[in-house]
Symmetry: C2
Subunit: 465 residues, 2 copies
Amino acid sequence: MASMATLFVNTPYHSHSFPKPSSAHFAPVLKLSTHLGSKPRNRQRLRISNGLIEPDGGKLAELFVEESKKGETKKKAAALPRIKLSRIDLQWVHVISEGWSSPLRGFMRESEFLQTLHFNSLRLDDGSVVNMSVPIVLAIDDAQKRRIGQSTRVALVDSDDNLIAILKDIEIFKHHKEERIARTWGTTAPGLPYVDQAITNAGNWLIGGDLEVLEPIKYNDGLDRFRLSPAQLRDEFTKRNADAVFAFQLRNPVHNGHALLMTDTRRRLLEMGYKNPILLLHPLGGYTKADDVPLSWRMKQHEKVLEDGVLDPETTVVSIFPSPMHYAGPTEVQWHAKARINAGANFYIVGRDPAGMDHPTEKRDLYDADHGKKVLSMAPGLERLNILPFKVAAYDKTQGKMAFFDPSRPQDFLFISGTKMRTLARNKENPPEGFMCPNGWKVLVNYYDSLVPADNDKVPEAVPA
Amino acid sequence: MASMATLFVNTPYHSHSFPKPSSAHFAPVLKLSTHLGSKPRNRQRLRISNGLIEPDGGKLAELFVEESKKGETKKKAAALPRIKLSRIDLQWVHVISEGWSSPLRGFMRESEFLQTLHFNSLRLDDGSVVNMSVPIVLAIDDAQKRRIGQSTRVALVDSDDNLIAILKDIEIFKHHKEERIARTWGTTAPGLPYVDQAITNAGNWLIGGDLEVLEPIKYNDGLDRFRLSPAQLRDEFTKRNADAVFAFQLRNPVHNGHALLMTDTRRRLLEMGYKNPILLLHPLGGYTKADDVPLSWRMKQHEKVLEDGVLDPETTVVSIFPSPMHYAGPTEVQWHAKARINAGANFYIVGRDPAGMDHPTEKRDLYDADHGKKVLSMAPGLERLNILPFKVAAYDKTQGKMAFFDPSRPQDFLFISGTKMRTLARNKENPPEGFMCPNGWKVLVNYYDSLVPADNDKVPEAVPA
């Protein structure tokens, strides 16, 4: 992936928490935040940042133990009750520790959990509001709760018992699973992938607290160099003198419709007067459901898209977003957007049915395809983010390429669904020329070819995504 | 109910929308509201009200047609597509038209519906936020939608086809029932009373728009004189020179534990320096589930409680809150509190498990008993309201009366659950002396006596509430 590596300088991890003032061309962002309550909380805060958009809460919450204190921390941890982290738990430690969920400083305590479920937002001590739509919680079972007893802190370890972090000032509260699921997904139908994977069999308690993480989370899968933290991304945008950053969240192969959208967005931003808008092409790297294309194959596909010149490496940063996927539609799209604010993006592209999927038990989409962008545009705490709704791209048979759909001549357009695309790739057929760059398509074909079915009939069925 | 009638002057309906400045002793409320967005929306509004707490949105939304325009309105309505209102729909028209749900001006459009479901709050044009936790919507079916066609307004009629209101600038959008239920109740289990009554068999579309209501809604059940509108309540509080108004929502008979709590609240408010705190004893009068004690019996019981001097008529206003009941726990308690702001209350008493009930299919409470007060204390748009959490009252065997529970001597206290209370009344047994005033208890016994079961074994089973 040499071509992708050239998109950013692979800086070693560093723990500064705020991008240095740069020569970037932003107009100063003036933020006046006043509490609306009747109690006289008129402490006005004037925040001026002359660089990228400010992280939620004013400061990236990077939660790593200082080098000089690591020895001491490990020693203390040895005496603490231990909680073994699942793969998804570890991904959340990754997310929290790098500040994607700023101002969170650890797994949610009950007050944060309840505000997330009921309001999709958190009110900070100064009365300001940040978005927070998806519960970021750690479940424990009865036996673990008993073992923790009166301890105020616990050690978090990975599957090999390596110390990952300390969770301190802990609070243990009930894991009301049904309510969590209903309020997050808007359904309790069986078969929601994240629920099956991480909630149904999880413990009946949640443990919140502040995280102290020993080392940045790495996966040693050859892709760690693409996992830039919010601080590293901010550095990169600053270095490139970005005066606008537009984020594109994806968990699917990039076809030329996506590419058209991204290049068109840059064109629109230039027209608006920005001098150097930078695209953050930001595939989700955490847990995805079994029938999504795995991260490693998606990254290979994205590489080809850049090699083939479909996107401009000069104005594109490709990086991996470490969050697990909820498939929670309008609720989750807020999380996807909020995390990108923390990474420095002030524009967010949102499409049809973001973070959606089929209803697990009924023959319909789980979410109204338009709710995602509507909810996003009204979400508390996201007022600073500019939401850019997707235009619908489809294959224009008259031009032989992907183009924005023209409702005056619908007969000229071909809509190629995710299901259709995957069926073609699985059958080693080609899509219409111009749908996807040929080398990107080959990656997809190779992926499906690599799936050795248990028996010849059982290739996993793809669903639109 | 002569004694209750003396609690307030039975003013005829009037449509002024704001209490006149009075000689009340409030310190001016200074409200500085600033939009938090990045776009320069720094239009600051300075609102000063020198009377009761300001209604949400600054002004009570009273939505009645002016006398002089009624003829014309009726004439126009005759040509419009008609929607027949259910009993619960009519209760919502009542609620909206008097301004309990201010600043709503009609049934919710999609943007209000989505904000309610996802954020339990609405953002107003000036950037300020008001609480709104329960969808107030009107469902129509496919045939009604077809009949409405391209009309921009419809006529709403009651079960006898009497014109009730016009709904104008309508917007029709999908009624995603499963999602509405899951996000409002935190469960989709079958057997939720409001769902069975008003959602399951309702149409697959929702129609929002602005209401123009012909006449204040009346029920002709002998209780209309107790149904004071928010404007009428505000007048009453002003006339009484209230300098604090504390609201007590209930849908159950008042026992001496409740009374203790209310008198103790007044004592605390006096200690805080208020000179004339007024209690708004505010039984819910809309739809309740079959095994709740009906409104007419509850009103008789409340009357006896006042006659027997358990509560002081001088400092108590009894009125009926016209809203239907959702039994949606932490979500609904916000609605109960928000509506009372609009009626002039600046203190709200909240107990254990407000608006809760048994889980419809599992042997447990539907909601965590502490979530209601926690969610209420954090709810967006309710910052101006002072939340007064319940102290636990129980029967103190050493004193022979209801008293605040003293954890140092638990053996002295008897907890009498709703189920226990109802079982006693049904069996014509007496509770411990001092649990409820004797005449109030007689009303309860008479109520259960009046229930003629279909066969002798089938008295409706009471549930704790």
